[in-house]
Amino acid sequence: MIATLADSDLRHAVEQFLFREARLADEHRYEEWEALWTDDAIYWAPANGDDIDPEKEMSIIYDNRSRIGVRVRQLLSGKRYTQDPRSGLRRIIGNIEVLGREGDDVRVAANALVFESSQRGETVWASRNEYTLRRTGEGFKLARKKVALVNNDRALYTMSFII
């Protein structure tokens, strides 16, 4: 299916998906954001390097689909105090590269820069992101998102929004 898309059309579709995912995260539209994921999803933010083995070492976030659901329900509970009041967020997703296709999956990489304003102050989060997008009847779904923060080896402030 994806193979039939011209490169420019694929790139456009990928970009639109990533921009939408970014906007839903920025605007705390948790239910719509959760609906982006496939059932076998992995949402991963490694710690202490970009290439650690998350099955052996600590990650900042290492969520399967079920845990993504818990994360969203906690944010929606009205008592997730670290996000009440919510962080003000805007992010730029850039340097988007389509790395390859495999069946219905498209592997994509991008840079991300997130500006967060909270009661603590202002924090800038920078990362290299990798995505696996899956072509489905309803358009792309998100099967994997890896957020490799450039400072993930250092002490980080609370990051309780959707990165």
Binding site: P54, M58, I60, Q74, S77, R80, Q119
Partner: protein
């Protein structure tokens, strides 16, 4: 030095059931804490398993001072100051590794994994330099309990075992949960920074009053039996071991349930390998008791928190700046349980954790709150009327009572007044 203001009158700031907000806010008090707590008493540094092999090293700290925890070629654990004895340069910039020597990049002075000066560049420039007098500085006293390595900058003072006192039993209890009787720290640390004073973290670790509120969001959406442990009807206990060590003893609740591994929210059929190894290590009767009681929830003053399945190490950076280093405990000989402890740890702690992000929010809000002076009392009187002594003579009370904070501050005052 004689420009220093007069020392605070600690009795005016610390009463048995209340303390002044200035204790969390005043940079001069933070400096005094460095001197009289961090650079004097026993402080937890790291675990022996982090430097399992000869010449392994890992960077640590005591207070603001950078430490290399290093294993010498002979297997001995050293706590070395990460400061070149030539001109003070940081010798080792690498978080961890294995090397028989550390070479300072500034002028190529060379130190062994035991801290001894091995050599230096262009030796003819010195008219005989006694190498034995220029080894890396070291923490004068180093001691280990069940693999937990502590350091004290005081050349003399209570031994580590005297310092741990009754709380040593909690470390034994933890290690008993490992089939081979040892825990390991191998999964790497999450480092979570907060704009708050270290003592808010210290006190919160064994505060059983907050979970029902601060953590209600996760208790309400996750299938968790933790919430009930901290309710008004809980039979769990807060305990003051003395020397600033405090515990939230959940065993009464787990014993009521009388189910193995209930402390971990699971059942024996889900961890058959672990249960089999425990049975063969301890015999079924003792293994059953261990697996009902579970691991401790204990805060070893001033900076080691054993939180059932994790350890936290508290690092102060400034009066309102701290880091919580946290990782999953790993039990030697229990790969199936270890995997689940890592998974649960990643979910609950660190900068994005279901639990710790909210705790840290409270630390930062309290730091902002106590900028308002008002009467400046922080009130810690909860449960004062129902404290009692347990069979070992330690003060205990209801799970939600502020016995731990009172115990911590009593010890704190004694350290500061002794100064």
């Amino acid at each position: 030095m004689n420009m220093m203001p007069a020392a605070p009158v600690w009795g005016d700031m610390i009463r048995p059931d209340r303390v002044r907000g200035a204790l969390y806010r005043d940079p001069a008090i933070f400096e005094l804490e460095l001197e009289h707590i961090w650079y004097k008493t026993w402080v937890y540094v790291g675990h022996e398993s982090e430097i399992a092999n000869p010449h392994d090293f890992v960077l640590k700290s005591i207070g603001l001072q950078p430490i290399i925890m290093s294993r010498g070629g002979d297997g001995q654990v050293h706590l070395l100051l990460n400061r070149c004895t030539h001109r003070g340069n940081q010798v080792c910039p690498k978080e961890k590794g294995n090397s028989p020597m550390h070479t300072c990049p500034f002028h190529a002075w060379n130190f062994g994994s035991d801290g001894k000066l091995l050599g230096y560049a262009f030796p003819e420039g010195y008219d005989g330099l006694d190498k034995s007098k220029h080894g890396l500085g070291r923490v004068p006293r180093v001691a280990s309990y069940r693999g937990f390595v502590f350091g004290s900058f005081a050349a003399d003072g209570p031994s580590l075992e005297e310092h741990l006192g009754g709380a040593a039993e909690t470390i034994d209890r933890l290690c008993d949960n490992a089939p081979e009787g040892e825990i390991e720290i191998t999964a790497g640390f999450l480092k979570h920074r907060v704009k708050a004073n270290w003592k808010f973290i210290l006190e919160n670790e064994t505060d059983g009053y907050h979970p029902a509120f601060v953590h209600s969001s996760i208790f309400s959406v996750a299938d968790s039996a933790i919430g009930g442990l901290y309710g008004a009807k809980s039979t769990a206990l807060t305990r003051d071991y003395g020397n600033g060590h405090t515990e939230l003893d959940l065993r009464p609740e787990f014993r009521k349930r009388d189910q193995m591994l209930s402390w971990f929210g699971t059942t024996p059929d889900r961890l058959p390998d672990y249960v089999a190894k425990m049975n063969s290590a301890y015999g079924e009767e003792k293994a059953r008791k261990i697996m009902i009681d579970g691991t401790p929830h204990v805060m070893i003053f001033p900076n080691l928190f054993i939180a059932e399945i994790q350890i936290f190490v508290i690092q102060p950076l400034g009066v309102n700046d701290s880091v919580q280093h946290v990782t999953a405990l790993q039990f030697k000989g229990a790969p199936d349980l270890n995997r689940r402890m890592r998974q649960q740890t990643m979910g609950s702690v660190g900068p994005a954790g279901f639990l710790l992000a909210d705790d840290s929010e409270m630390y930062e809000r309290t730091q902002r709150g106590i900028q308002a002076h008002d009467t400046d009392w922080v009130f810690l009187g909860r449960g004062g009327h129902r404290e009692r002594r347990d069979a070992d003579g330690f003060i205990v009370s209801h799970a939600t009572d502020e016995v731990p904070s009172r115990g911590i501050w009593k010890h704190y005052r004694s350290l500061m007044e002794r100064a």
